[in-house]
C-alpha cells in the first residue's frame, strides 16, 4: 500500500454522503452507530444537529471536522451519554465510551497515577491490580516516571497524555476526543499526533476525534467527516488511505487538506449569503 500512495488519488473515496451511507448499510459491524440523530437546546430552539447518520466501525479512526460552533462537542456529548438527543438513536457496541476534553480535566486532588486508578476503580478493577495497570498505561503514553506527580507539576502535553491514559483505563473500546490538542503548541501537538497514531494502532480502539484543524484531521484519520453549521449535518466525507505514520507537512496531507479546506470554507461562506 505504501508504494501506491501517489498512484491513486489521495481522496480515494471522496464520495457524497448518500453513496457512503448505502455502501456501509449492509455492514453490521459497528462500534458506534448514530441514526437520524437531532439535537436542539431548549423548547423550540433551532436544531444544532439535524439528522446525523454516522457509523464508526470497530477500530476505525474518524475525524469530525467543522467550523467552531457547528455542534461537534454537542455530538460527542450525545455519544458519551452526557446529554440526550432530541430525536434519533445512538447505539454503542460496548460499554461506556471514554471522552477526552480540550482541557485535560484531570482531578488536581489526585496524583497522576491515582487519576488513572480512579478510572480503573470505577470500571471495577480489583484494588490489587490497579497500580500495575495504571503503571502500564502510563508507560503506554511514555510517562513511566509520572505516577507520583501532581497534575500541576506536569506540562500541558504531559497532562494530555495522562488524560489519554485515563481514558484508555476505561473499559469501553470507543475513544471520543474533543479537540484534545487544540491548546498545545505545534511541536508538542506533532509529537502527540505520532503518539496517538501509535497507541491507536496498538490498542485497536475506535476513535472519534473532533477538531476544527483540517491538517490535524488529515494527519490522523482514516475517514474525515465534514459537518455543516446551523444546523449541523454531515456535508461530506473523505476516506484517507495515506499510510501511517503520516507527517503533517507531507505533500499528500497538504493536498488533501487544501481540498477539504475549500469545502469547509464553502460551508462557512454559505452562511454569509442571504
Amino acid at each position: 500500500m505504501s508504494q501506491t500512495v501517489h498512484e491513486q488519488p489521495v481522496t480515494a473515496a471522496a464520495t457524497a454522503v448518500d453513496a457512503a451511507r448505502t455502501a456501509r448499510g449492509n455492514d453490521d459491524a459497528y462500534a458506534v452507530r448514530l441514526s437520524n440523530v437531532s439535537k436542539s437546546f431548549g423548547r423550540g430552539g433551532a436544531p444544532v444537529l439535524d439528522g446525523i447518520d454516522l457509523t464508526v466501525k470497530p477500530g476505525e479512526f474518524v475525524c469530525l471536522l467543522g467550523a467552531s460552533g457547528c455542534g461537534k462537542s454537542t455530538l460527542l456529548n450525545l455519544i458519551a451519554n452526557l446529554d440526550k438527543p432530541s430525536a434519533g438513536t445512538i447505539d454503542l457496541k460496548s460499554g461506556r465510551p471514554a471522552l477526552m476534553f480540550q482541557d485535560h480535566a484531570l482531578f488536581p486532588w489526585l496524583k497522576a497515577g491515582k487519576n488513572i486508578e480512579l478510572a480503573l476503580k470505577l470500571r471495577g478493577v480489583p484494588r490489587d491490580q490497579r497500580r500495575a495497570e495504571a503503571e502500564k498505561l502510563l508507560a503506554l503514553v511514555r510517562l513511566d516516571t509520572a505516577y507520583d506527580k501532581r497534575v500541576h507539576e506536569l506540562s500541558g502535553g504531559m497532562r494530555q497524555r495522562v488524560a489519554l491514559a485515563r481514558a484508555l483505563a476505561q473499559s469501553g473500546d470507543v475513544l471520543l476526543m474533543d479537540e484534545p490538542f487544540a491548546a498545545l503548541d505545534a511541536i508538542t501537538r506533532d509529537v502527540l499526533h505520532d503518539e496517538l497514531t501509535r497507541i491507536w494502532a496498538d490498542t485497536g480502539r475506535s476513535v472519534v476525534f473532533v477538531t476544527h484543524n483540517v491538517r490535524e484531521a488529515v494527519r490522523l484519520a482514516q475517514r474525515v467527516v465534514l459537518l455543516s453549521s446551523r444546523p449541523g449535518r454531515i456535508a461530506r466525507e473523505w476516506t484517507i488511505d495515506i499510510p501511517q505514520p503520516r507527517r503533517i507537512e507531507s505533500p499528500d496531507v497538504s493536498a488533501l487538506s487544501i481540498e477539504i479546506t475549500d469545502h469547509l470554507r464553502g460551508e462557512i461562506r454559505r452562511h454569509g449569503k442571504h
Binding site: 505504501s2 500512495v5 501517489h6 452526557l82 471514554a98 482531578f107 470500571r123 511514555r142 507531507s250 481540498e259
Partner: protein, 304 residues
Amino acid sequence: MASTDLTKPAEAEDHAPGAREDVAGLEAGLDALETYESERTPIWRTLVSKVLPPALAIAFLLLVWQIAYWAEIKPDYALPRPLDVWDAFMKTWREGETLDILWVSLERAAIGFVMAIAIATPLGLVVARVKWIRAAIGPLLSGLQSLPSVAWVPPAVIWFGLNNSAIYAVVLLGAVPSIAQGIISGVDQVPPLFIRAGRVLGATGLLGVWHVLLPASLPGYLAGLKQGWAFTWRSLMAAELIAASPDLGYGLGQYLNQGRDLGDMPMMLSAVFMILIVGIGIDLLLFSPLEKLVLRQRGLLVNK
C-alpha cells in the same frame, strides 16, 4: 494532486520502526524542557518571615499597654500591668486548675464542632445541589450567619434549661450555618468540567458525590470549617459566660464570669487572653496547615 511528485516512495517507510524511538526521544526532551522542580523554602526563612513579625507586634502592644499603665490612664483596678495578668494566670496554673478549665471548654467545643460538621455537611450538600431546597432555605442560612449567636442564649436556656443542651444548641446555631455555607460555596466553585469528566468515568449519583464533588469542593469546605470553628468557639464562650451555673462545669466562660463577680481585673484579662489564644491556636495549628496542604497539592498556592 496525484501528480505532486515530492513524496518519494521510500519516505513512507522512513518513519517506520526507527521513528518510534525518535518520537520517544523528542518527547522526553519536551517533557524535560517543560517541567521544573519547585524548591522548598528553608525552615529558618519561614521562621523569620512568619514568626518574627507577629512576635514583634505583640511585644509592641505589651509595651503600649505598660506605658498606658505608667501614664495612669485608668485606675489600677481597671487597668492592671501586663505582669499582674501574668501573675493571675500563674496563680490559677499553680492551683492546677488551668488545664481543667481549658479542658471543660475545649471538650465542649470539640463535641459541638463535630456535631455541627455532622449536621452541616449533608445539609450544605443538599442545599447546594437541590434547586428548590436552595431557593427555600439558602437565604435563611446566609441570614443566620449574620445573627450573633449570643442572641440564642436566652431562648435556649428557656427551652432546654441551664444545662449542656442549651450550650450545644447555641453552638450549633452559630456553627452550622457557616459550615453549610462553606460547603455550598465550595460546591458552587467546582468546575462543571470535573463533574462531566467524573460522569464519563462512571462516577454518577453518590459515586460522583464521593469521588468528584466532595474532593473538588474541599478548599471551600475547609474555609467553611475554619469559619465554623471560629463560630463554635465564639458561641461557646457567649453561652458559658451568660449561662453560668454550678451544674454546668467550670470552663473558660465561667472562669471569666467569676473574675467579674470578684471584680478581679487581672483574672478577667487572663481569661480573655486564654480564650483568644485557644481560638487562634486551633486555627494556626489545625486549619491553616490543612488549608495550605490542600492548596499546595492542587498547585493553587503560589510559593513566593
